[in-house]
């Protein structure tokens, strides 16, 4: 290869340089800002993760698999996965190969920033290049790959259903500019490279194109304008990128190390939260996933719109969206970049100003504590049914019966009512108040001297596990506990012939990762069928305490939809493991709804 131009420069690279410089400066400044916004503890954690080999490896792996290959998307829909990875990976390979090419043939030009990008314009083929036909082939191959992706993307715009997406977001004006410039970049590159293929060499795609152009157009006048157009398109795309959904490309490169460093959302609008907002590709996968979007309702209240409104600073909508959500976490389960919808919303709720702050300092728990302490025993199991279970006495009664049948020495902590666990107020974003309650409950539990705490309510379970830090006390949900008893041979439920379906409560499944224990337990008691969508794809019952604003009348459709999903396998009974799900389903279900404790208890002698 030899230089076609001694200067190695042509004015058409200027637009590209401008775009590149802009996007780089913008992203670097943005990244630095976000990192600076982290609090001291998080910052430290982040920097340590950057030099820890394990996290470095994980970061690289995640970056490659998520940003380039889009493995999650592949799992969701192959067409969608292929489209994204063909563009992302293909483009990445084009850039990489361009650099390799440049490095091999024009090492003295590598330092020119634009040179590898417009390599084919600046070089002319000579005999030394013959060995490079493999690279030429690869270049054409990846270009073809990207072009296929682009074609698919265009089809997807028109017919999103083919890609398994019923509903998607509407792109903004800038999004469209970005989108169209992105679509144009690669066809233009193809044409531009084809024009120069007889000089700089090409392969199966560009050479025939070159010949065709020669046959039709005959002159070289079109060569320079296409390179200009190519460069301008790149410039447009890069200049609008920070203001469009394509910001997710650079943002995700920051989000992945953030997440791998183990950060949590500390502030509603800064640091980690902001990284999540920018990482949202606005794909709208969460719209179909959202349990509230039944019958096309509440579509604009999904996580994608939360992110969009946070970027736009529309406070009124941010509030509406964050208050309405059930916090079921399904959007997070389906999200390709892992935006934590519930946490984001709780964070938004937490920065709200209230004229009246709850205060529990006046609560005197001494008598309660003393009563619990009077019966203290290290072997005793402490049973905390939770406030919701007070409305479903069948659950607590079944649990008591199970305890007795298994010969467990237990104490029913809140038989006559207890304090709230703090999770509901935490969900409302009132962290200080939640801490007060947690402190009080902790004192009571510590006073009991018990070593195991069994909970019936997943809402309690989640907060007890994550926020109580009860050293020396094992916190288990009754599903886990009963399974342990069964495994230890202390309970032996007789197998029945009932056809059961298990509903994964949000707080227990997605919230605490307990999917297998209840199923294993239920297999002991009957025939288990699965719902259409189950485990981490389970649909919220609609009764969630997560939502602050969703009224009773607005929830019926959600519940009916969840019931429809559960009844896919024609079960005789719906089994769940949450008092709230039970109450909610029981209102509309035409088949019996019971708690797993009741099911197990029924099958015990």
């Amino acid at each position: 290869m030899i230089d076609r131009f001694a200067s190695g420069f042509d004015p058409f690279v200027i637009p590209f340089l401008i775009g590149m410089a802009f996007v780089l400066v913008y992203c670097i400044i943005g990244a630095i800002r976000l990192i600076l916004q982290l609090d001291a503890e998080d910052k430290k954690r982040f920097f340590i993760s950057l030099i820890t080999p394990k996290t470095i490896w994980k970061n690289l792996k995640d970056l490659f698999l998520n940003c380039l290959i889009h493995v999650k998307l592949w799992k969701r829909n192959r067409m969608l996965g292929f489209m994204h990875s063909s563009i992302a990976f293909g483009w990445f390979m084009l850039i990489l190969l361009g650099h390799i090419e440049c490095f091999i043939y024009m090492p003295h030009r590598v330092k020119l920033f634009y040179y590898p990008i417009f390599f084919n314009y600046f070089v002319a083929e000579n005999e030394t290049t013959i060995g490079g036909s493999v690279i030429f082939f690869l270049m054409d191959f990846f270009l073809l790959l990207v072009l296929t992706g682009i074609v698919l993307a265009i089809i997807k715009r028109v017919r999103s259903r083919i890609f398994g997406m019923r509903r998607t977001t509407k792109p903004s004006l800038l999004d469209r500019v970005g989108l169209y410039s992105l679509w144009l970049i690669f066809p233009l590159r193809l044409i531009a490279e084809s024009f120069t293929a007889h000089i700089s060499g090409g392969s199966f795609l560009t050479i025939p194109m070159n010949m065709m152009f020669k046959a039709f157009l005959g002159d070289q006048m079109n060569m320079l304008p296409t390179w200009w157009a190519y460069s301008i398109c790149l410039c447009i795309f890069m200049c609008v990128l920070p203001f469009t959904r394509y910001m997710h490309i650079p943002a995700e490169m920051l989000l992945i190390p953030f997440r791998n460093a183990g950060l949590t959302i500390k502030h509603a609008r800064r640091g980690f939260a902001k990284a999540q907002v920018y990482s949202c590709p606005n794909c709208g996968v969460c719209i179909d996933a959202c349990p509230m979007s039944v019958k096309k309702a509440n579509i604009k209240d999904t996580t994608v719109y939360l992110n969009r409104n946070i970027r736009r600073g529309n406070e009124k909508r941010i509030e509406e969206i964050s208050d309405k959500c059930l916090l079921c976490g399904k959007c997070t389960a389906v999200c390709q970049v892992g935006v934590d919808g519930p946490q984001m919303r709780i964070a938004q709720r937490s920065i709200r100003n209230y004229g009246l702050e709850q205060d529990y300092s006046g609560i005197d728990i001494t008598p309660f504590k003393e009563a619990v302490a009077a019966e203290a025993s290290p072997d005793r199991v402490l049973y905390f049914a939770g406030c919701m279970t007070a409305l479903t006495p069948a659950i607590s009664r079944a649990m008591e019966s199970v305890f007795r049948k298994a010969g467990v020495d237990y104490a029913f902590m809140d038989k006559d009512g207890g304090l709230c666990c703090g999770r509901p107020i935490l969900m409302a974003g009132r962290f200080g108040q939640a801490r007060q309650i947690i402190r009080k409950n902790k004192e009571i539990i510590k006073a009991s001297g018990a070593s195991t705490l069994v909970l019936s309510c997943p809402i309690c379970y989640k907060v007890f596990r994550e926020h109580y830090k009860l050293e020396g006390i094992r916190v288990v949900h009754h599903t886990e506990y009963m399974l342990e008893l069964v495994k230890a041979g202390r309970l032996s439920p007789d197998a029945g012939s009932d056809v059961l379906v298990y509903h994964d409560p949000c707080e227990l499944g997605r919230g605490s990762g307990i999917y297998e224990q209840p199923r294993e337990l239920l297999r002991h008691t009957g025939e288990l069928v699965e719902a259409e969508q189950n485990r981490d794809m389970s649909i919220c019952c609609g009764g969630s305490l997560g939502s602050l604003t969703l009224g009773f009348d607005k929830r019926e459709d959600l519940t009916r939809n969840a019931l429809r999903n559960l009844k896919a396998g024609n079960p005789e009974t719906i089994v769940t493991a949450c008092p709230l799900c039970k109450t909610t389903f029981a209102m509309y279900s035409d088949i019996p709804v019971e708690d797993i404790a009741e099911t197990v208890n029924k099958h015990l002698k």
Binding site: A390, R397, T583, M587
Partner: protein, 339 residues
């Protein structure tokens, strides 16, 4: 014999309508899904406001409709609309072509177990108004027989006036039934304290207020204004209920030996199905829809299909009977106009 008339439902409304139609010279066909006539009233013991035995009322009516064609343990399988009437197929295989259909399908008593927080079917000492009437009739119920009953509670509005139970309507008769049963219990357990937990006392009917005063003055029933929210059980198997005494503004707790839930009147689900065969819809309150809710509660949007009794909403027995008579007359007028 004149034209065929099919009456669906052998409760008070169905029987009273049949009686009137017989008097008018028709021979109606009455189908009843259970094995006896009288509907819910047949399960009852005594009726307010004069403590008339329910059996007398039912027997009196049954006696007077002997001449009608009565099919017990029979349901309507399907109805086909024809040019001049309806073709009705019964589950016993009988096929009838009739000119008029009277839907006297009545109501369902709300399933008290659906309000789990009240513990029906979970705690031993919780029963419904129907269970209590059954005990009045049979004297056999393990919740009462042989038990030392010192405190009895009645919870009004169970499954009525409650969106969570899917029924926003007032069941109309529970207030007076609760007072009646409270007084009857007080008679049987003179030493017992009887409590009624109510949201509002709706005592609108003839002599109902007298009943209320009697309950206060003679029986000494305690009335507490507050809706029960939760029920739990103690070691002795007694039930502990939580409510708010809204008049003193304090949450209250009370231990009871027996809790009676005043299950309300909800629309008969099966009736909705039958009605849909003749294109009669349900109204927004979940009961069958009349042509007009003021002057024409008897007729429906479908020609030749009439309604009577609690199929259109909660009613007392005298109201039901009056409506049944009106329905009989409406059918007669309709048939006369047809021929």
């Amino acid at each position: 014999m004149k034209d065929n008339i099919v009456i669906v439902g052998g409760g008070i409304a169905g029987m009273e309508a049949a009686r009137q139609l017989l008097l008018l010279g028709y021979k109606p066909i009455l189908v009843e899904k259970s094995d006896h006539l009288g509907g819910h009233v047949a399960d009852w013991h005594c009726l307010f406001p004069d403590m008339t035995p329910a059996q007398d009322v039912v027997k009196g009516l049954v006696e007077q409709i002997k001449d009608a064609n009565i099919f017990l343990e029979t349901e309507v399988s399907f109805i086909n609309r024809m040019k001049m009437g309806y073709n009705v197929m019964f589950s016993n295989g009988v096929n009838v072509i009739c000119k008029a259909i009277l839907l006297a399908t009545g109501f369902d008593l709300f399933e008290a177990s659906r309000k789990e927080e009240y513990g029906y079917g979970i705690y031993d000492q919780v029963m419904t108004n129907r269970d209590l009437e059954r005990w009045f009739n049979t004297g056999d119920d393990k919740r009462i027989t042989g038990k030392d009953i010192k405190k009895i509670g009645f919870v009004h509005c169970v499954g009525s006036r409650d969106v969570k139970a899917g029924n926003q309507q007032c069941s109309k008769v529970c207030c007076i039934t609760a007072i009646k049963q409270a007084m009857e219990m007080k008679e049987r357990f003179p030493d017992a304290e009887v409590y009624c937990f109510y949201m509002d006392l709706r005592l609108f009917g003839k002599k109902y207020e007298d009943f209320y005063i009697k309950a206060q003055m003679e029986s000494g029933v305690h009335f507490i204004r507050g809706r029960v929210s939760e029920v739990s059980e103690n070691m002795q198997g007694q039930v502990i209920i939580k409510t708010e005494d809204t008049l003193s503004g304090k949450p209250a707790k009370i231990t009871l030996d027996l809790l009676v839930l005043m299950a309300g009147i909800v629309c008969n689900k099966q009736a909705v199905q039958t009605a849909s065969m003749v294109q009669v819809q349900t109204d927004s309150d979940g009961f069958l829809k009349s042509k007009d809710n003021i002057l024409n509660i008897i007729e429906t949007g479908s020609k030749g299909v009439f309604l009577a009794g609690t199929a259109t909403g909660a009613k007392t027995i005298p109201e039901t009977a009056a409506e049944a008579r009106a329905a009989a007359l409406a059918i007669h007028n309709y048939l006369v106009a047809q021929s």
